[in-house]
Subunit: 244 residues, 2 copies
DNA sequence: CGATATCTTGAGGAATCTCAATACTAGTGG
DNA sequence: CCACTAGTATTGAGATTCCTCAAGATATCG
């Protein structure tokens, strides 16, 4: 398999649709903007889909005909340089939203890290709903603002942090996001490969691996099986992340 | 004379000279969302201000009580690590908008690179106007989406590009943004210091300087006085920027 | 026209990358 | 159930880019 497998096209299935009103991640996402009765309007246009691990959900420069909401699993977003160098711009977990587009095109590729489920909202209909429910628009704006703040944190990380600081920041960020989703934050689940982590942090897989080993040796973390990482010293890890 | 001084006396405010309806950067910014008659509502709440070079407009973690629009000059946004390492997350020129906040706090510091003019919109009143004019909200959302796309490009640059590619990308981006503002794109004006460029690209001033020299020696650019850079070979520079 | 900041250039060093070998892990078929 | 395979992770050694420290050149400003 080539180094950067672009993945295969996701096959969409109209799978088991739990009604939006009973959606377990509703409070985390766009849908939280609407009341029970309005929610049915969203439910009318939503399609649920399941993507297998390593399958592409959509590709960079493709017409952005839909927005998505991750309901289970993990998704990565990335951009490529012509020679294949890759930058992962974000990892998405249940409750996270994908699909902000510029010029009606996606600015990145979205690919499942593990088998995942998503809600798919056709853009045209979503636009109409936003027209009808300004609070939906507000919600999206507020989510975009949060994403922007996260992007700026990531720029600080990429531009100015050392490998050790990057890994520490990454683990803490995963842990904090798990809390927000109401999942276990320690040990924290790290479902992505070393290569993905490297492409997210601007490192190589070897450096990621070495840095994990280093943090393990110094006792702040413990590498567990199943891609879990135990944080032994949260404050210590935080100090490392901030370079203090 | 500062690069962007349009020849007015410093004490005069922009609004005195041209009401919003005659604002030269209106089409570029939030204000483009509103019609002539609605614009007066914006004009009612706007304050114009002038900041001298190196002066801070607002600081990270400060309550975000206002949004701003740059009408002249250059502004930089940055974040700091505890030990003083700095990441500039963006440079703003006339027409650019500042002020997306998270948790009602600014996520970064804004500082004038050269003497600059801004329109200041109190957030509370702006929120009310957004309520009243959904198209204002839409406009802000679309601007946030564009910023997000730019942020992702910057992540690719920071995480995966070499120094040479970073400088080439930076020059091209400045040039393209000048076009959008209707200004001369070649030679392109580079009003910020080497240190600022370094903190924007995740490099040191020395590396920035050396890389400029290198690009100059290879003939793709020419360093001119007044902080201007002539792009001799746009295609060549583009190829360098993309690593091809 | 000097003072001060900024920019450029040089030499050496350090963090990270590249290339390469080995160890581990998970899934597959016998 | 176990050996086999292919992918993934770890570790090592050397190369390279970029950084650090230092000096000199240039620009800017009062």
């Amino acid at each position: 398999m080539p180094p950067f497998d672009m993945g295969r096209t996701a096959k969409q299935s109209v799978a088991d649709i739990h009604p939006c009103g009973a959606c377990p991640v509703r409070s985390l996402t766009v849908c939280a903007a609407l009341e029970e009765d309005e929610l049915s309007r969203l439910a009318d246009i939503v399609q649920t889909m399941r993507v297998e691990s390593h399958h592409t959900i959509f590709s960079e420069a493709e017409p952005a005909t839909a927005m998505f909401n991750v309901t289970a699993g993990t998704v990565k977003l990335y951009k490529l340089l012509p020679d294949g160098r890759r930058q992962i711009t974000g990892f998405l977990f249940s409750g996270d939203f994908i699909g902000l587009a510029v010029n009606d095109k996606f600015a990145y590729t979205a690919e499942a890290v593990v088998a995942s489920s998503l809600c798919r909202f056709p853009r045209r209909q979503m636009d109409a709903l936003m027209e009808e429910f300004p609070k939906l628009q507000r919600r999206l704006f507020s989510m975009a603002s949060n994403e922007l703040a996260a992007a700026q944190d990531q720029m600080l990380l990429l531009g100015r942090k050392t490998a050790k600081e990057k890994i520490a920041s990454f683990l803490l960020s995963l842990s904090q996001r798990a809390v927000r989703r109401g999942q276990k934050d320690n040990p924290v689940l790290v479902p992505m490969s070393r290569a993905d982590i490297a492409d997210y942090l601007g490192l190589t897989t070897e450096t990621v691996s070495r840095t994990f080993t280093q943090l393990k040796s110094s006792g702040v973390i413990r590498l567990m099986e199943g891609g879990k990482v135990q944080i032994n010293d949260k404050d210590g890890l935080y100090d490392i992340a901030e370079g203090t």
